[in-house]
């Protein structure tokens, strides 16, 4: 008879789970990531790097102990991400919010960051406008235009390519990448001879590759999601007889990341991609980072890991600069203009946009000692996000 009473009291009991205590000597950092679901692996890479950074640098900064609270968004879920951020602020009393793998979630958290005046570090989400949502946000990953527009300009100016065909997956990031590449390429004097948007779930690229080949451009720019698609593309390129020596294949780094190269095999040879980090980057610091990451997690770090690593570095250094003051205004002021050496090379936080300024690398897949690797052969230094540079004008 009292079924509803039981339900109500079980609700009360469940909600009563201990509210965490707040103590003076600690700094609380709330990590919002997609720990479960489709985007669990990027979050795992990022979280690993966060843990590794804390392990190497100690969990005490400016005399205060760091405490981490991890929250799972389970994929794209802006209302949930926003609620988690609100709860981190009002319930857990965090001082800093960080993580944020996915753009829609990061945008939703932006409102909370602005309203609660909390320093927020975006360790991955790459859509240009995110950092405009809150004056307390800084980013340590990249933006899509930063990579692709730079790549377009580079293709026309440095690679001497004048005619490009673009093929992208028909979804948000695909459209953004297409727009950014075409813009950079055309402004540098290149000509887009044709473009196509392919269905996102597209296992067979033969028809699209054939159409591109018929037009006979000097290069084909491709943007497709990672996972199983790169190998399908590689197969189509081989079947249709596209020779990467004659027709260049351009793309963003995801196209030739570790898993993709493994499944594509030799078909990936000669593909030219743009990215801001690869574990094959040659520097003493990166070699050390890759070694430590491998020792701990038995795999190579990728862009998510380096985003997490640099995000932690930014948090540590700003806290040192403010002597442990966690006020949002103090922290973001400390973050502005901060420069440091990252495993990916020299990077800094743009004082105006709070976005990352970094070197953009152009790489080619080559066989090194029997291994297929992304080998950097050119770079563009000190690249700011071109989208926000235009917004100012």
């Amino acid at each position: 008879m009292s079924k509803l009473f039981i339900a109500a009291s079980s609700l009360a009991a469940a909600l009563a789970a201990a509210a965490p205590a707040y103590s003076q000597g600690t700094i609380k950092i709330g990590l919002i990531m997609s720990y479960s679901g489709q985007f669990a692996d990027p979050a795992a890479q990022m979280d690993n790097a966060v843990k590794l950074y804390v392990k190497q640098h100690g969990d005490t900064v400016a005399g205060k102990k760091l405490e981490f609270i991890r929250k799972d968004t389970g994929g794209i879920a802006p209302p949930l991400a926003k609620r988690l951020a609100q709860e981190l602020v009002v319930r857990d009393k965090v001082d800093i919010i960080a993580g944020l793998v996915l753009t829609p979630n990061a945008l939703a958290v932006g409102d909370v960051s602005a309203e609660a005046k909390k320093f927020t570090v975006i360790m991955n989400a790459a859509t240009a406008i995110i950092t405009t949502k809150s004056p307390y946000m800084a980013r340590t990953s990249t933006t899509l235009p930063q990579l692709n527009e730079t790549f377009g300009t580079w293709a026309a100016k440095k690679a001497g390519v004048k005619k490009v065909y673009t093929m992208v997956s028909d979804y948000g990031p695909g459209h953004d990448a297409e727009g950014a590449f075409q813009r950079g390429f055309k402004e540098a004097g290149g000509e887009i001879v044709g473009s196509v948007r392919m269905p996102v779930a597209n296992p067979d690229f033969s028809a699209f590759v054939q159409r591109a080949k018929d037009i006979n451009p000097e290069a084909i720019y491709v943007f497709i999601p990672g996972g199983t698609q790169p190998s399908a593309l590689g197969r189509a390129l081989a079947e249709r007889g596209v020779d990467t020596a004659k027709t260049k294949i351009f793309g963003m780094g995801e196209l030739t990341e570790d898993e993709a190269r493994k499944t594509m095999g030799d078909a990936s040879l000669g593909i030219v991609t743009v990215y801001h980090y690869d574990h094959n980057h040659q520097s003493a610091m990166n070699r050390e980072f890759v070694k430590a990451y491998n020792a701990e997690y038995n795999r190579n770090p990728n862009i998510y890991a380096v985003g997490g690593w640099d995000g932690m570095h930014l948090i540590y250094e700003t806290l040192k600069k403010t002597k442990g003051n966690t006020d949002g205004d103090a922290l973001i002021a400390a973050a502005k203009g901060m420069k440091w050496e990252s495993p990916r090379g020299p990077i800094s936080i743009d004082p105006e946009t709070r976005d990352i300024v970094q070197t953009v690398y152009i790489r080619r897949v080559e066989k090194v000692g029997g291994q297929l690797l992304n080998v950097e052969f050119d770079k563009v230094e000190n690249v700011k996000d071109p989208f926000k540079a235009r917004m100012k004008k």
Partner: protein, 328 residues
């Protein structure tokens, strides 16, 4: 005389408020006092409960299985979001707008829905849901596409109550809307129309023979359910100021179905209890273990379905029934 009055007496007796119900609704005020830091969660539970309640109307009472109910939720959310961006941000009128758009689409599709049952219905609702999702995805000039709608700005409720960080306004608002929708649902269920819906669920062919037009009834209840789902969607858009493709996703349709089955389909409080248990469990499990919490949710679902095939409320009803019989 007695035979004509009997059904009315039955309905009246059913419609009487039980004291447990009054206790339940009073206890929904407890979070304000006991857990003021959980009001955002409570607000989203209330919204999910409203969404589950709307699904219960068609699935639990009329037997219309839907795997695409998020379509109406998303329509309500996008309507409220887009209007707030371009024209106005007054919450109450946005709620009405969301309800209207979802209701119109619901009414249009109900003409298809009313002609099918069971497996065919699952496929059709699933297909309609996916169509709408893809349409919203490709119309990125209007919906913001994969990044979600940007620039959603909601005015304070009644131009006085701000949607604060703690969620006080959000929960109060969601709870009032949920309660009003519940009253309407309760009235519908305990009306002759509600009774004939249950008849349709049990035997749609026989109902017309006793003078109840099955298809017309299904169209009606489907439209009402769409309106309620649209209100729930508009509520989530207003209280979180975010709208994204996720509101239209298959995941959301599936989640609400799970919630309803968990709580008990075909019971007034099934969706509400399901939403409370599912979302509190999710919040607690994922707080303890952000990577593998889905395992525990899965375990909970399997356990409930195995031991309480009619949901938690169904199980409780059976338990209290047998207990009462034994004590007699």
């Amino acid at each position: 005389m007695a035979s004509a009055a009997a059904p009315h007496a039955y309905l009246q007796q059913q419609a009487r408020w039980h004291w447990v119900e009054i206790v339940f609704w009073l206890s929904t005020l407890l979070p304000f006092v006991l857990f003021p830091q959980y009001l955002q969660l409570a607000s989203q539970i209330a919204i999910t409960a409203l969404f589950a309640l709307s699904l219960d109307l068609i699935l639990g009472y009329a037997g219309v299985v839907s795997l695409g109910h998020a379509a109406f939720f998303g329509l309500g959310a996008y309507t409220a979001g887009i209007l707030s961006k371009f024209y106005w941000g007054e919450p109450l009128s946005l709620l009405v707008a969301g309800a209207l758009v979802a209701g119109l689409v619901g009414y249009a599709t109900s003409w298809i829905i009313a002609y099918f049952r069971h497996l065919a219905l699952i496929m059709i609702t699933l297909g309609l849901g996916l169509l709408l999702y893809e349409a919203a995805n490709s119309a990125s000039w209007l919906t913001g596409g994969a990044d979600g709608l940007q620039g959603v700005r909601i005015r304070p409720l009644l131009d006085y109550f701000n949607f604060d960080l703690y969620g006080r306004t959000a929960y109060t608002y969601s709870l009032i809307v949920l309660f009003l929708a519940f009253l309407v649902t309760r009235r519908i269920i305990h009306s002759p129309f509600g009774l004939s819906l249950r008849g349709i669920r049990e035997n749609p062919v026989r109902m017309p023979a006793i003078g109840a037009p099955s298809r017309a009834h299904i169209r009606k209840i489907y439209t009402i359910a769409a309106v309620m789902a649209g209100i729930a969607g508009a509520l989530i858009a207003e209280t979180t100021e975010t709208v994204s493709l996720e509101t239209l996703s298959f995941q959301r349709s599936a989640d609400v179905l799970v919630i309803l089955i968990l709580g008990g389909a075909g019971r007034l409080y099934g969706g509400i209890v399901g939403a409370i248990i599912y979302m509190v469990a999710r919040d607690q499990f994922s707080g303890v273990n952000p990577q593998f919490w889905y395992f525990w949710i899965g375990l909970l679902l399997v356990a409930v379905v195995m031991f309480l095939p009619n949901g938690i409320l169904g199980g409780l009803a059976r338990f209290t029934e047998s207990w009462r019989r034994r004590s007699r």
